[in-house]
């Protein structure tokens, strides 16, 4: 379990990191907490020529509330930081964060690393998709851009980030008025990653009528080759009271249009069935949390 040889640079500022990325491009890999990258390197499944360590760039750490009520979470914010932050009030975060990995990994693993790595079974992407997060990225050659979470994940371990692009921060919209959220996942017992994980947000905007909900967001991880929004379930639930019958009628479509993965831990049939169960439980959980 010894990685292949590599060069190492430590960036002390965002500018320095961007400069190093421009110089070394695809030969280099950013390293934040190292919790995904180092295991791959030790198994020699990843062999970057160079690591650019961004782990000590203070500007990328921490959580701020923006003037418009949104939260801006620096890409180097760790799971432990998120758990400790009073700003993180979403129920789905409270469900997910304490069950991700273990204390050591949560102390080192960053939110930026989790989504840039884009493991098709990791938890954070589903949470950000369900929250309609936006991702602020920057590179030396194309400057800063903001990408919707729904546009970010392309395939297994693949995102729209350019090789020289740095994820700066994650922006989380303020919740709608009357809302609730939950995350439910069935874990693969060895790794703790999701066999199927579903994040659900239900809410009412100004336009909502009576007891019905019009803001429904359901994101699924572990099931397809990248996390996705279950649009068919969302559509089926908009305008309903999201009660047991309407949930039961809607969740069957959670894998619609998705090629479900199968592996030694869960074949396609089981995984698809678990996506349905987790969707149902997440929606029930979100409903039970309505504020």
């Amino acid at each position: 379990m010894i990685p292949a040889a590599f060069e190492y640079d430590r960036a002390t500022s965002v500018e320095e990191a961007l400069g190093l990325l421009r110089t070394h491009g695809a030969d280099a890999k950013l390293i934040a907490g190292g919790q995904s990258l180092l295991p791959l390197m030790k198994l020699r499944l990843a062999r970057p020529d160079r690591l650019i360590d961004i782990g000590r760039i203070e500007a990328l750490k921490g959580i701020r509330r923006l003037d418009d009520g949104r939260l801006a979470v620096g890409s180097l914010t760790t799971y432990a930081d998120l758990i400790a932050s009073p700003e993180i009030k979403y129920g789905l975060f409270r469900d997910a964060l304490p069950t991700i990995a273990d204390v050591q990994v949560r102390n080192r693993g960053t939110i930026g690393g989790a989504i840039a790595h884009a493991d098709p079974a990791s938890d954070m992407p589903a949470l950000l998709l369900a929250l309609d997060a936006e991702l602020v990225c920057r590179s030396a050659h194309r400057g800063q851009r903001t990408i919707a979470a729904t546009e970010f994940f392309e395939g297994p371990f693949t995102t729209v980030l350019d090789p020289d692009e740095l994820l700066i921060e994650i922006r989380l919209p303020a919740p709608s008025q009357h809302h609730g959220s939950a995350y439910r996942m069935l874990e693969q017992p060895a790794s703790g990653f999701a066999i199927a994980g579903v994040a659900a947000v239900i809410g009412q905007t100004e336009a909502a009528t009576g007891d019905t909900f019009d803001d429904i967001r359901i994101a699924v991880t572990g099931v397809g080759d990248h996390p996705y929004r279950a649009a068919a379930v969302e559509a089926a639930l908009v305008g309903t009271p999201v009660d047991a019958p309407s949930i039961a009628a809607a969740v069957g479509a959670v894998c619609e249009g998705v090629e479900v993965m199968g592996d030694i831990h869960a074949d396609r049939e089981y995984r698809a069935a678990m996506a349905v169960v987790m969707a149902q439980r997440a929606l029930e959980g979100a409903r039970a949390r309505l504020t």
Binding site: I2, A190, H265, D267, Y270
Partner: protein
């Protein structure tokens, strides 16, 4: 004895060192000039080696040597325990060479080794070795491997059969099955496990060109045996020219009993490098590929009996997967240690077991915590449940009716323990099984289970309760039995201990056993402190180095307390006797008049005339005044060969809830009532039970063959386990002065069957009769789906195909 430490939960003396990071494990050892070895392993499960090109690796930075199979002048590794029995069974033996020369039989078999200045350089150069492989078809399933058309692994093993062995009365059992009121049949799979000690294996070889001597530091349970095997069987080096040292060993569970290729390689490499120390530390991935695995049985079971609950016969045919080549005692596990205790704690008059040892393209299989006995317990405990279900009788009641009654001991079971060849008769010497069952039933609330099931059902959960009444063969073993050709491994199994009382009165115990985390430094000290009447702080326990400890067969088979500590008690007795003689001399009394209490040696009737052990040791060490014929110094060694094994028993009960929607099995409660005889240290006993139960539960609930790392191989975690509810009955073993039986394996032996029975109990209302391990969520879920769809798919009915 005055101090009475035995029986108390003394804190473990090794823990300050081990918990504060001051332990010294293999990888903590560094030496001047040390180089590092990496082993190149086969990526194929089965392949011929056409050529090995080492030229690029040799020219890489830091590389000091490269070895291939052709460079190893030694014999293949030894296999010490062929399947025996009365009939002179043929064993088609193939063992690994230190490095494979012509072909590889499993993924992970070593083909070359690289030695470099740093471990990083060795790893890099290992990648640069080019092997020209000719991949061959592979087979991994033991039953399939014996069928026509299966890939053949070895020329001398047609149909991949290592041996065909049987035990018990074939005709009598056939009669009993034929005439029985009820016969239940079931195919049972006891899946392969990866033992996963926290510390992987590793070794450092050091050759001294000045003396022609070899020293090896090895993470091993058996340094003395390894010296013997390396010297006499593999390397042809005189035994006194090899020294084996086990530093702190971070868990072993059986995996570190055996003779491994890397021992040979580090010693050979050090010799080729004119005495540079060569270190090899196993990665977790290599541990999964190239250290032994456990279990892996396919068993066809028939259990026959009467509707009144009497079980009259058990007949099994078991395919035991032994891997691509044989490990050191691989064939002994599914034969002697499995089939001979198949009837467990039950008085089943007819038992017949056929065992086929099989080569497959998998890592070798050998003793893992419990070794054979968990496999036997799984079979007989599933048999009891299946039989109870068939006749509609309560599962506890069926067990109760078939227990060997307390007045039947000593009991010779029908699978040949009593009739084993060789001089010794092994019999179950003691037991009282019902009280343990009753205690466990009461603790688990067995009577209220129907209500608990209804309550669970209302929450969408299926609740199940599973019993496992087990016995264990511990304290292995009388040499006459285990050494008998055709039964055991052709070598003895006594233990040894030496005790020295130094001039200052401090006591040094050296033992031939070898701890791997069990706390022997504490328990030996408790025993010897009591025997000599000194404080525990005055006793130090040393072990693990063939230089400086008496020969011992090592620690496994829960034998250290029963066999090893009896040797220590004997040695302490000799110390007391000599101290008494010297006290008589000092006090000018006759030896017969000296009475000993604790550390005090007094003249009977004159309590003021006395000497302490410390005073005696001081005088006898200086020896200014020793009487004629008395040698100076208190220094005594004893060897102990046990007259019989020990027979722990108990009942474990698991209560599980299954989430019907996901198939996830949640272990809600775990009750264990164990009878391990007297306890030297109850806290250590509980620790051993906890660990054993966790490992056994882990097998019931999980495990996978395609798993190369902990990312894919589920090791049980504390958070999945309930608080274990432990209780005891105490039936002292009659074979040793402490009355102890051994506890290292009990938890692992009982718990797998308890969990499997509980899950099957939970699934029974759906019409599912038997679901095999591993009881993973997808497997349980699929069984539930199939049952609901009305298709039994092999789960639901008992009319399984027979072997």
């Amino acid at each position: 004895m005055a101090t009475e430490l035995v029986g108390t939960p003394v804190k473990r003396v090794e823990d300050r060192r081990l918990i504060t990071g001051k332990g010294r494990y293999l990888d903590d050892i560094a030496m001047p000039g040390m180089v590092h070895m990496a082993i190149v392993r086969s990526p194929y499960a089965h392949a011929n080696i056409k050529s090995v090109d080492t030229s690029i690796a040799r020219s890489m930075p830091g590389v000091v040597d490269v070895l291939t199979g052709a460079d190893v002048p030694y014999n293949p590794l030894p296999m010490a325990w062929p399947a025996g029995g009365s009939a002179g069974i043929q064993n088609n033996v193939n063992t690994p060479r230190a490095l494979a020369t012509d072909s590889v039989k499993w993924q992970g078999e070593g083909v070359a080794a690289v030695v470099a200045e740093t471990a990083e350089q060795a790893a890099d150069a290992a990648e640069a070795i080019i092997v020209d492989w000719e991949p061959l078809p592979a087979v991994v399933d033991a039953e399939a491997a014996t069928k026509p058309g299966a890939p053949q692994l070895h020329e001398n093993a047609p149909n991949n059969v290592v041996f065909e062995w049987s035990v018990g009365d074939k005709d009598g059992t056939a009669e009993a099955v034929k005439g029985a009121e009820v016969v239940v049949k079931q195919r049972l799979v006891n899946q392969r496990l990866i033992p996963n000690p926290m510390e992987t294996r590793g070794d450092i070889g050091l050759y001294n060109p000045g003396t022609d001597e070899y020293t090896i530091w090895m993470s091993s349970q058996t340094p003395h045996i390894q010296r013997l095997l390396l010297a006499a069987f593999v390397m042809g080096v005189p035994e006194h020219k090899i020294r084996c040292i086990s530093p702190d060993v971070g868990g072993a569970f059986g995996t570190k009993i055996f003779c491994y290729a890397d021992y040979v390689l580090v010693l050979l490499a050090s010799k080729r490098l004119n005495g540079r120390p060569v270190k090899w530390v196993e990665s977790r991935r290599e541990n999964y590929q190239a250290t032994i695995h456990g279990r892996d049985h396919i068993t066809y079971l028939e259990v026959a009996g009467k509707r009144d609950g009497t079980v009259d016969a058990i007949r099994v045919k078991t395919y035991a997967n032994l891997g691509g080549r044989l490990s050191t005692i691989g064939p002994g596990i599914p034969t002697t240690l499995y089939a001979r205790v198949l009837s467990g704690c039950y008085r089943i008059p007819n038992v017949y077991a056929e065992v086929v040892g099989v080569y497959t393209n998998t890592a070798f299989v050998d003793a893992y915590r419990g070794a054979g006995r968990p496999e036997a317990t799984y079979v007989v405990e599933r048999a009891m449940d299946l039989f109870a279900d068939e006749i509609g009788m309560d599962k506890a009641e069926v067990r109760r009716r078939n227990f060997i009654p307390p007045d039947q001991f000593p009991y010779e079971n029908p699978s040949g323990l009593g009739t084993a060849s060789g001089g010794a008769k092994i019999y179950i010497d003691s037991g009282n099984y019902e009280p343990a069952l009753d205690k466990a039933l009461a603790a688990a609330g067995y009577g209220d289970v129907a209500a608990a099931k209804a309550d669970a059902k209302a929450r969408g959960k299926l609740l199940g309760i599973g019993l496992s009444s087990y016995i264990e063969v511990c304290g292995v073993a009388p040499s006459k039995w285990i050494g008998a050709v055709g039964e055991g491994w052709g070598a003895a199994m006594w233990e040894s201990a030496n005790i020295k009382v130094h001039l200052t009165g401090k006591v040094v115990v050296t033992a031939g056993t070898q701890p791997q985390g069990q706390g022997h430094e504490t328990t030996y000290a408790q025993v010897v402190a009591d025997e000599l009447g000194v404080p525990m702080d005055d006793v130090v326990v040393q072990h693990s180095d063939t230089q400086g400890t008496p020969f011992g067969y090592g620690s496994y088979g829960s034998r250290t307390s029963s066999v090893g500590m009896t040797a220590a008690i004997k040695a302490a007795g000799k110390i007391r006797e000599k101290a008494r003689r010297y006290a008589a001399h000092m006090l000018e009394a006759s030896v017969d008049d000296i009475e000993v209490e604790g550390a005090e040696y007094r003249v009977k009737g004159s309590p003021d005339k006395k000497k302490t052990l410390q005073e005696i040791a001081f005088a006898l060490d200086l020896a200014f005044d020793a009487p004629e014929g008395m040698e100076p110094y208190l220094d005594e060694t004893s060897y102990h060969d046990t007259p019989n094994c020990t027979w722990p028993f108990g009942t474990h009960i698991a209560i599980v809830e299954i989430d019907e929607a996901t198939g996830v099995v949640d272990l809600k409660r775990y009750v264990a009532v164990d009878d391990v005889g007297k306890k030297i240290n109850p806290m250590i006993v509980n620790g051993q039970l906890h660990g054993g139960i966790a490992q056994g539960v882990g097998q019931g609930e999980d495990g996978s063959l395609l798993s190369g790392s902990m990312l894919d191989y589920a090791v049980p975690r504390a958070e999945w386990l309930p608080t274990f509810e432990l209780d005891e009955t105490v039936t002292p073993s009659p074979v040793n002065p402490l009355g102890v039986k051994g506890v290292g394996e009990a938890g692992a032996i009982a718990s797998t069957a308890a969990v499997a029975n509980a899950v099957n109990d939970a699934l029974a209302p759906l019409g599912i009769r038997h679901l095999d391990m591993p009881l993973t969520a997808p497997r349980v879920w699929k069984a539930i789906q199939d049952a609901r769809a009305g298709s039994s798919n092999g789960h639901g009915n008992g009319k399984e195909a027979k072997a």
